[in-house]
C-alpha cells in the first residue's frame, strides 16, 4: 500500500528527482521519525543566512504545492521580504478556515537557531506528509504559519558582520544610545578581522590576572596577596567618538521584543522600547497578519537560550490577565513539552525570569487570546546530559576541549591598539554558547518542532454529533445537536471571553423552518437559554476544550437539514441529515 502511494507520488514529482530517489532506495534505509527521501534536502547541522532560509523555504513550497505556499508578509526595516510559509492540506479547505499555529524565530537577531528550528518544523511537516497518517490528518485539520526569521536584517548582520554572541539583539535601526546627539558613532570594531568580537587583555604591572598555567585560554585571578600579570580591558573595540568609552553607540539599541502592543511601556520603564507599539516594521507586519488571521489559536516564538518553555505574563502587573482556566491549559501542554525536550523547564516569564513589558507572547495572548509559548532554545544540559554545575565559563572550556576540539575559541593573540597600546585579543566565538553546536542542532530542532506540533494538535477540533429529533406534535419537532471540541484548547480563551476579543461561535441550522432556538444549559433539567433574534444561527460564547455544548431548535418543517458550526479559532464542521 505504502509502495503504491510512493510510486504515484513519484510519478507526479519532477523528473530530475527520479534518478536521485532510485539511488536513494538502494543506499538508504529509513530511520524512524525522519523523512528519509525528502524532496528538499536540508542539512540541519549548520546555520543559514536570511537568503539561505528563504532559499530552503522556496524549495519546500515548490516541492509541495498542495500543502505549502510561500508569501511575503511585508518588508523589514532594510527592505527584505519577511517570508512566511503557510502549511495545510489545501484540499480540505482554505488555510483561514482551520485553527492555526503561528511559529516564528529569531526576533532577537543573535538568537539565530529559531530560524533553523522553525524551518525544521516546516520541512518535517511537508516531507513526512506523504507517508505519515498523523501528519496527514493534522494538515487536514490545522494550518501552520511559519516565519523562520522575523528579524532578517540583523540575522544577516550577526553572521556577516563582527559580533559577539549577544549582538545585535536589536534590528538594524541605529539610535543614539549615549544621548550625545549622534546616532551610532561608536560601534564595535573587529580589530583582528576574524568576524568575532571577543575580549581584550593587556599586560600590566598592577594587573590582577594571570593566564592559567594548565590552560592558557583561561584568565584566572591571582590570590589576594599575589601580584598578577594582566588587566582586563573589556570588549574588543576602540573609543570611536572620543568620549572615553569603548563601543558605546553601535547598532540599536532597542529590543524588538519590547515593541508589542500589550501593556507596552516606554523606554524609561521598559528598556529597549521604541516610540510606540509596533514601531518596527517587522513586528507591525506580523501584527497585521495576525489581525487578518483570526484563526490563529496557538503561537510559538523561538528564542535562545537556557532551555525553557516560557509563558506569560511578562510582568507582575499582568498577573490577573492570565486566568486560572487558561493556565490549566498552558500547564497541560507545557508539561508534555518538558518530557519531549530533555533539560527544558516550563517557566513563567515575570516570576522565573525577569519583567518584560510589551513582549510578543503577552501580545498574542492579551490582545488575541492566543495560547503562546516562547521556547528558549539551547541548554548546557545538552552537552554532557548533566544539569549545569554552575561553573560558568569553565564548563564551556571543557565542552570546547572535548566536544568541539577548540573550534569555539579564538586563542589570545597580540594586537597594536591605537588607544591601549599592545593588547591581546581572544575569547569565545559569537557562535558558541547561545547557539547550538552543529551536532546538537538537528535533535533539538526535532524535539522543539514536535512540541509545537503537539501544541498545534491541541488547538480546538470541533464536530457536530449526536443530532436527535423529538416530535412535539402539531407539526413541530425539536432538534438537539451536540458540538464537541475534542482538543485541550477552548475556542475562546478566558481572556478572549472577558473582553469579547473574537466573535462567538455560530451553530447554524439550514433547510429547516426555525420557530425558536436555544443553547442547552442543562439537558436533564430542561434548562435552556433562548436566543430571540436569528434563532437559526445560535451564538455560542465558547466551546471549552474536551467539552461539548448543546443547542436546540424547535422547527415547523424540514427533514433534510444541515447543521454547521463556524468558529474563528475553532474552525468549521458540519452535519447533514
Amino acid at each position: 500500500m505504502k509502495t503504491t502511494k510512493l510510486i504515484v507520488g513519484l510519478a507526479f514529482s519532477a523528473l530530475s528527482l527520479t534518478s536521485i530517489t532510485a539511488n536513494a532506495q538502494d543506499k538508504f534505509f529509513q530511520a524512524v521519525g525522519t523523512p528519509y527521501m525528502p524532496k528538499v534536502e536540508i542539512a540541519f547541522n549548520r546555520y543559514y543566512t536570511y537568503e539561505g532560509l528563504v532559499d530552503n523555504m522556496k524549495k519546500i513550497a515548490a516541492a509541495h504545492p498542495d500543502i505549502a505556499k510561500i508569501e511575503s508578509i511585508g518588508k523589514s526595516y532594510e527592505g527584505r521580504d519577511m517570508m512566511t510559509l503557510t502549511i495545510t492540506d489545501f484540499s480540505t479547505g482554505p488555510d483561514t478556515d482551520k485553527p492555526a499555529m503561528w511559529i516564528d524565530g529569531n526576533i532577537h537577531s543573535n538568537e539565530i537557531q529559531g530560524g533553523e528550528f522553525a524551518l525544521y518544523a516546516a520541512w518535517y511537516l511537508t516531507e513526512m506528509h506523504a507517508d505519515n497518517e498523523f501528519i496527514q490528518q493534522l494538515l487536514k485539520d490545522k494550518t501552520f504559519y511559519i516565519t523562520p526569521t522575523i528579524n532578517p536584517d540583523a540575522r544577516n548582520d550577526f553572521f556577516n558582520q563582527p559580533n559577539t554572541a549577544n549582538s545585535p539583539r536589536s534590528g538594524m535601526m541605529v539610535l543614539d544610545n549615549d544621548r550625545d546627539g549622534l546616532n551610532g558613532e561608536d560601534g564595535m570594531d573587529d580589530l583582528d578581522g576574524d568576524g568575532h568580537i571577543t575580549m581584550m587583555i593587556r599586560k600590566s604591572p598592577t594587573g590582577r590576572f594571570i593566564k592559567d598555567p594548565q590552560d592558557p585560554r583561561k584568565l584566572i585571578m591571582v590570590g589576594a596577596d599575589k601580584v598578577g600579570e594582566y588587566e582586563m580591558l573589556g570588549q574588543e573595540g576602540t573609543d570611536g567618538d572620543g568620549d572615553g568609552r569603548v563601543n558605546d553607540d553601535g547598532v540599536g539599541y532597542y529590543d524588538p521584543n519590547r515593541d508589542w502592543g500589550w501593556n507596552w511601556q516606554p523606554d524609561y520603564i521598559q528598556r529597549g522600547a521604541l516610540r510606540y507599539p509596533f514601531t518596527l516594521p517587522e513586528n507591525r507586519n506580523i501584527m497585521e497578519f495576525v489581525m487578518k488571521h483570526p484563526n490563529i489559536a496557538g503561537a510559538q516564538s523561538f528564542h535562545n537560550s537556557g532551555g525553557m518553555i516560557l509563558r506569560g505574563p511578562g510582568a507582575e502587573e499582568d498577573v490577573s490577565t492570565y486566568n486560572r482556566e487558561d493556565i490549566r491549559i498552558y500547564d497541560a501542554i507545557a508539561s508534555k513539552g518538558e518530557e519531549m525536550i530533555p533539560g527544558y523547564r516550563y517557566l513563567t516569564v515575570y516570576k522565573d525570569l525577569y519583567s518584560v513589558f510589551g513582549g510578543e507572547l503577552d501580545w498574542f495572548y492579551g490582545t488575541r487570546g492566543v495560547f503562546t509559548y516562547s521556547n528558549e532554545l539551547m541548554n548546557s544540559y545538552l552537552y554532557f546530559h548533566k544539569p549545569s554545575q554552575g561553573r560558568g565559563q569553565d564548563e564551556m572550556f571543557e565542552v570546547d576541549e572535548l566536544l568541539t576540539m577548540g573550534d569555539a575559541f579564538v586563542m589570545w593573540h597580540e594586537f597594536e591598539h591605537p588607544q591601549f597600546g599592545t593588547v591581546e585579543i581572544g575569547g569565545f566565538k559569537k557562535t558558541f554558547g547561545r547557539a547550538h553546536p552543529g551536532f546538537l542542532l538537528e535533535q533539538d530542532a526535532h524535539r522543539n518542532a514536535a512540541f509545537t506540533i503537539y501544541h498545534a494538535y491541541h488547538t480546538p477540533k470541533l464536530s457536530v454529533m449526536d443530532v436527535k429529533e423529538e416530535d412535539l406534535g402539531g407539526g413541530l419537532k425539536a432538534i438537539t445537536a451536540t458540538i464537541f471540541n475534542e482538543r485541550l484548547m477552548p475556542t475562546h480563551a478566558s481572556q478572549d471571553l472577558k473582553h469579547h476579543i473574537e466573535r462567538p461561535d455560530y451553530v447554524t441550522i439550514s433547510g429547516a423552518k426555525v420557530v425558536a432556538g436555544f443553547v442547552v444549559e442543562d439537558e436533564d433539567f430542561k434548562k435552556f437559554s433562548e436566543q430571540k433574534m436569528n434563532p437559526e444561527k445560535i451564538a455560542v460564547a465558547n466551546i471549552p476544550g474536551m467539552t461539548a455544548v448543546k443547542v436546540k431548535w424547535i422547527v415547523s418543517s424540514g427533514s433534510n437539514y444541515t447543521i454547521t458550526v463556524d468558529s474563528a479559532k475553532g474552525g468549521k464542521a458540519s452535519w447533514k441529515k
Partner: protein
C-alpha cells in the same frame, strides 16, 4: 416662568453657533486649510501635511521659526485632540496667525510647532447635516465587539439635524428631572432613598437589537483615547492597539524626530494649567509611573501661576486632569516633555448651581443665548412601544465650545500665555571664564555653564527619557592638545538657575572654543583667548 418663556423662544430659532454666516462661526476644514496656506506663505512658517486620515483629510503641521530652527528650544501647540472641541482648533490657528504677524520677535529664541487639528474626520461633523459631538475618525470599528462594525450609531429621532438625548419614562430608570431646572436630567440620589423616573440615552435606536443604545457608533478611533499612556484597550473608540491610526502614528513619528521640543500646550478638555497635577508619592515611585514627579509638580505649579495671571476667566469645574489614552498625559508620561493642557474655555460659575448643565443653562439664559437647548418633545420610539419617550436637552457643541465671537479674546490671552512660557525656556550661558597660564605652555580654562531660566534643562521625567538629549559640552580643540578634562562631556540636567563647573588643561597657545547645549535647551558658545 422666565425660563419657560425663553425655552419657548428657542423653538424655531436659527441656533447658537450653527448659523450660516462663515465669519460668525467656526471654520470648515476647507476654510482652515485656506488659513493655514496663508500662514504658510510667511517666510518664518513652513506648512506640511504629515499624512491623510482615513477620511482623506490632511494632518497639518506648521513649523514656525527663524535661523537655526532645530537648535532652538521649541513649544508644540496642539488643537483638535477631540473632534468635538472645535474651539481648540481655532485657538491653535489664531495662535499661529498672531505669532507670524504680531510676535515675530519671539522666533529669535524659540521655535514653534502648531498642529492645529488632530481629529479632522471628527471635526467635520460640526458642519455636517447631522450634527453631533464626534470623537472618532473615519476608520470602521466594531466598538461593541459583536462581529459587525458600527452597527448602532445615533438616530436623529426628532429630525432637528442634531443628536441630543432621549429620556424614557421608566420606574426602573436611574434619572429624575432636576429640581433646579426642569430642562435638566440628574441621577436619582439613591443614597437619600430617591426613586428614578426616567432612563436616559443618547438619541438613538437599538439598530443591532442587542438591548443597548448607541454603543457601536459609526465613527472610528478617537485620537485622544488611543495613545499609549493608560491605553484603555478594547474600550469603544480606543480599539485593540494604541497608536494604530494614521494620524497618531504620523504625529508621533514626526515628534520623535524633533529633538528641540521642551514643552507642549494642548488645547483639549484636560486642564493642568488652572491648577497643577497632584503629586502622589506612591504612584510616582511605582515601576509604572502614574503620578507627576515631585520636582515636575513644582514646575507645573509655577507655570500654572503664570497661566492664572494671564487668563482673565476664573476657573470653574476644571476637574479633568487627563483621561486614559489621551495626548496631554502622553506628552509628559511617555514623551518626557513638559506638558500643559487647557480647554481654553469653560462655563463660568453662575448663580451657584452645582449641576454643570443647570449652571450652563442659567448662564446661557442670562445672556439670552438662543439655540443652545432643545425642549423635550415626545416622539414615537420603535424600541419602546407603549412608553413615553422624549427627545431634547442641551444641544451638541455649545457647552464644550466658546461662542465664536468670544474666541478672539480667548486666543489673545492664550497667545500671551504661550509667549510667556517661551520666555521661561531653558537658557544656557557661559559665565566666570578664567584662563590661567600654569606654565610650560599649559593653560587651565575654567567656566560655569549656567541655566538662566526658572525651568531646568530636563524635567525630572525628561531626565529619564532617552528621547531627550543630554546637555553636551564640546571643547573644540584637537584631542592631542587636551591634557585634562573631557573633549566631550554629557550632562544629565542643569537645574533652574543652576550651574555646572567646567575645567580643562590645554597645551599650546591657539584659542579654543566651547559649545554647550542640547536641541531642546538651546546652545551657547564661547571662545577662550589663550
Amino acid at each position: 416662568m422666565r425660563k419657560l418663556i425663553l425655552s419657548g423662544l428657542l423653538i424655531g430659532s436659527l441656533g447658537w453657533s450653527i448659523s450660516a454666516n462663515a465669519q460668525s462661526d467656526y471654520p470648515t476644514l476647507t476654510q482652515i486649510n485656506q488659513r493655514l496656506q496663508k500662514i504658510g506663505t510667511n517666510a518664518s512658517a513652513e506648512l506640511s501635511s504629515l499624512t491623510k486620515t482615513e477620511g482623506g483629510k490632511d494632518i497639518w503641521v506648521l513649523k514656525i521659526g527663524t535661523g537655526e530652527v532645530d537648535n532652538k528650544p521649541a513649544i508644540a501647540v496642539v488643537g483638535g485632540a477631540e473632534g468635538f472641541h472645535v474651539t481648540s482648533v481655532e485657538l491653535a490657528l489664531q495662535f499661529a496667525e498672531k505669532l507670524v504677524s504680531e510676535h515675530v520677535d519671539a522666533l529669535e529664541t524659540t521655535t514653534f510647532y502648531v498642529f492645529p487639528n488632530m481629529s479632522p474626520d471628527a471635526y467635520a461633523q460640526y458642519h455636517d447635516a447631522l450634527k453631533y459631538e464626534r470623537r472618532g475618525n473615519a476608520v470602521s470599528v466594531d466598538h461593541d465587539r459583536d462581529g459587525t462594525a458600527g452597527d448602532n450609531g445615533y438616530t436623529d429621532l426628532d429630525g432637528n439635524g442634531m443628536i441630543t438625548w432621549m429620556r424614557v419614562e421608566d420606574p426602573m430608570g436611574e434619572y429624575v428631572i432636576s429640581k433646579d431646572d426642569d430642562r435638566v436630567m440628574v441621577k436619582a440620589d439613591r443614597s437619600k432613598g430617591e426613586a428614578g423616573t426616567h432612563s436616559l440615552y443618547r438619541e438613538s435606536k437599538d439598530d443591532d437589537h442587542d438591548g443597548k443604545f448607541a454603543e457601536d457608533l459609526t465613527e472610528g478611533i478617537a485620537f485622544n483615547k488611543s495613545l499609549t499612556y493608560k491605553f484603555p484597550v478594547f474600550e469603544p473608540l480606543a480599539g485593540d492597539i494604541p497608536v494604530a491610526q494614521k494620524e497618531s502614528r504620523a504625529l508621533l513619528d514626526y515628534l520623535f524626530d524633533q529633538w528641540n521640543i521642551f514643552a507642549f500646550v494642548t488645547f483639549s478638555p484636560a486642564n493642568n494649567l488652572s491648577s497643577p497635577l497632584k503629586y502622589n508619592a506612591g504612584d510616582a515611585r511605582k515601576r509604572i509611573v502614574t503620578s507627576i514627579l515631585e520636582k515636575d509638580q513644582a514646575l507645573n505649579a509655577m507655570v500654572s501661576g503664570v497661566y492664572n495671571e494671564t487668563i482673565s476667566e476664573k476657573p470653574y469645574q476644571q476637574t479633568n486632569q487627563g483621561t486614559d489614552g489621551d495626548f496631554f498625559q502622553w506628552a509628559y508620561f511617555h514623551f518626557g516633555r513638559l506638558s500643559f493642557g487647557t480647554p481654553g474655555y469653560w462655563t463660568p460659575e453662575f448663580k451657584s448651581k452645582s449641576n454643570s448643565d443647570a449652571n450652563y443653562l442659567a448662564w446661557a439664559d442670562s445672556l439670552g443665548w438662543e439655540g443652545v437647548y432643545t425642549p423635550w418633545k415626545e416622539i414615537q420610539h420603535p424600541d419602546f412601544p407603549g412608553k413615553k419617550v422624549e427627545v431634547g436637552g442641551i444641544n451638541p457643541f455649545v457647552k464644550a465650545n466658546a461662542p465664536f465671537d468670544q474666541v478672539g479674546e480667548i486666543a489673545e490671552e492664550h497667545t500671551d500665555f504661550i509667549l510667556k512660557l517661551a520666555e521661561m525656556q531653558p537658557k544656557l550661558e557661559i559665565h566666570n571664564v578664567k584662563v590661567e597660564d600654569i606654565g610650560n605652555g599649559l593653560t587651565r580654562i575654567s567656566a560655569d555653564l549656567f541655566n538662566n531660566s526658572p525651568i531646568p534643562t530636563h524635567s525630572q521625567m525628561g531626565e529619564r527619557s532617552r528621547w531627550l538629549r543630554k546637555v553636551r559640552v564640546d571643547l573644540q580643540a584637537p584631542a592631542d592638545r587636551i591634557v585634562s578634562g573631557d573633549k566631550i562631556q554629557l550632562i544629565d540636567v542643569i537645574g533652574a538657575y543652576d550651574k555646572v563647573e567646567l575645567s580643562w588643561i590645554v597645551k599650546g597657545k591657539e584659542d579654543v572654543s566651547v559649545k554647550a547645549g542640547a536641541s531642546h535647551a538651546g546652545f551657547t558658545q564661547s571662545t577662550f583667548k589663550l
